[in-house]
Symmetry: C2
Subunit: 210 residues, 2 copies
């Protein structure tokens, strides 16, 4: 049975789930969520996920939401990328949900997908400060390490990189974070790796072209 | 062996862990983290938790960070409050980390613990909008339910209520969210329940008095 992942290319949270499935060789296909035209707030979508968020995984009778829950499910089903120490993997998944992808996604949205005249200045300043603090935590953790947990890639890596391959600027400078830069190269060298815009439908140019 | 929870009264994230231990009858004691005087950013604390955050649980050789990881550990050790459906419990823990406590804590901090003249106005507006959206999701989920998952209290309840008993205002009006209000009464009626300021050391008046 082919699993369906409700997602869109601009979502780093969806990418966390999609990348985990892609690198695991999971049988899945994307279902496009037209987020920028309000598709995640419709009654139909809220019936699928009351949280009004992508990604959502539908696999037969099973519906899962929250990117990290989908990552755990795929890792348990395939036996791949579970990482050695469950608590260590989980704490980075939770850290990413709040301090990593959780904040990067909001900041990138405000800085790129909100019209310039409507951007809330001090919100961007405040969130930028928090995003930089979290990038510092991530960079320090990766000093002398190839992977987030133990000696092999795991879903902790595919969580914490969720927003870090996107071209839209949100103050993340790879050159200024050498440990993150090296680690992103490691992930991108895994067999089957794809960039978010190559893995999921939906790209900023779709809207620019209209 | 008595577990030590590094925490402070003002932290709803620490409360999630402390409340889980309290209601489980866990053998624990609080260790005060003087967060407002920078104690979570010292080299000593960063050696304990590189994320620079409370809570931290130390139990013999085991050190755990991230409130939800501590909650899971305590629930697994005691067999209490695990909830029935693991994926359903986990998705609310992740939702809370990003959209619930994760945002409420930041907003409450900006509105109460930052001097009025330094408060970033549009950051508060932006975060308020997001906190209200998340409170709406929580309130709708609790319509017709006594507990977050299934028919019994679980760590999903003790996560999602993390910041909701505090008196400091951040736009959460219990009367305007009747399902949340009723659910908070349910949690507070559990044997052994305590308010965060009664469960952990540290209170805003400690600083006001100086």
């Amino acid at each position: 049975m082919t699993a369906q992942l409700y997602c869109f290319g601009e979502s780093g949270n969806a990418y966390k789930a999609a990348l985990t499935m892609q690198l695991s060789g999971y049988d899945w296909q994307p279902v496009y969520v037209d987020f920028f035209n309000g598709a995640s707030r419709t009654p139909e979508f809220l019936a699928l996920n009351e949280m009004g968020e992508a990604p959502v995984l539908v696999e037969g009778d099973l519906t899962l939401t929250q990117s990290c829950v989908i990552q755990l499910h795929v890792a348990e089903r395939t036996g791949k990328f579970l990482g050695g120490d469950r608590n260590e993997v989980l704490r980075w998944l939770f850290w990413d949900a709040q301090k990593g992808s959780g904040q990067q996604g909001g900041l990138r949205f405000l800085m790129n997908f909100v019209p310039a005249e409507k951007r809330p200045g001090t919100a961007i300043d405040w969130l930028s400060m928090r995003v930089q603090t979290a990038l510092g935590t991530l960079d320090r953790h990766l000093a002398g390490r190839d992977w987030m947990v133990g000696d092999a890639p795991s879903i902790a890596d595919f969580a914490c990189c969720g927003y870090l391959y996107y071209p839209e600027p949100f103050g993340f400078d790879r050159k200024a974070r050498p440990n993150i830069d090296r680690w992103l190269e490691n992930i991108a060298a895994l067999p089957g790796w794809k960039h978010p815009y190559d893995l999921m439908p939906g790209h900023p140019s779709d809207r620019a072209a209209k």
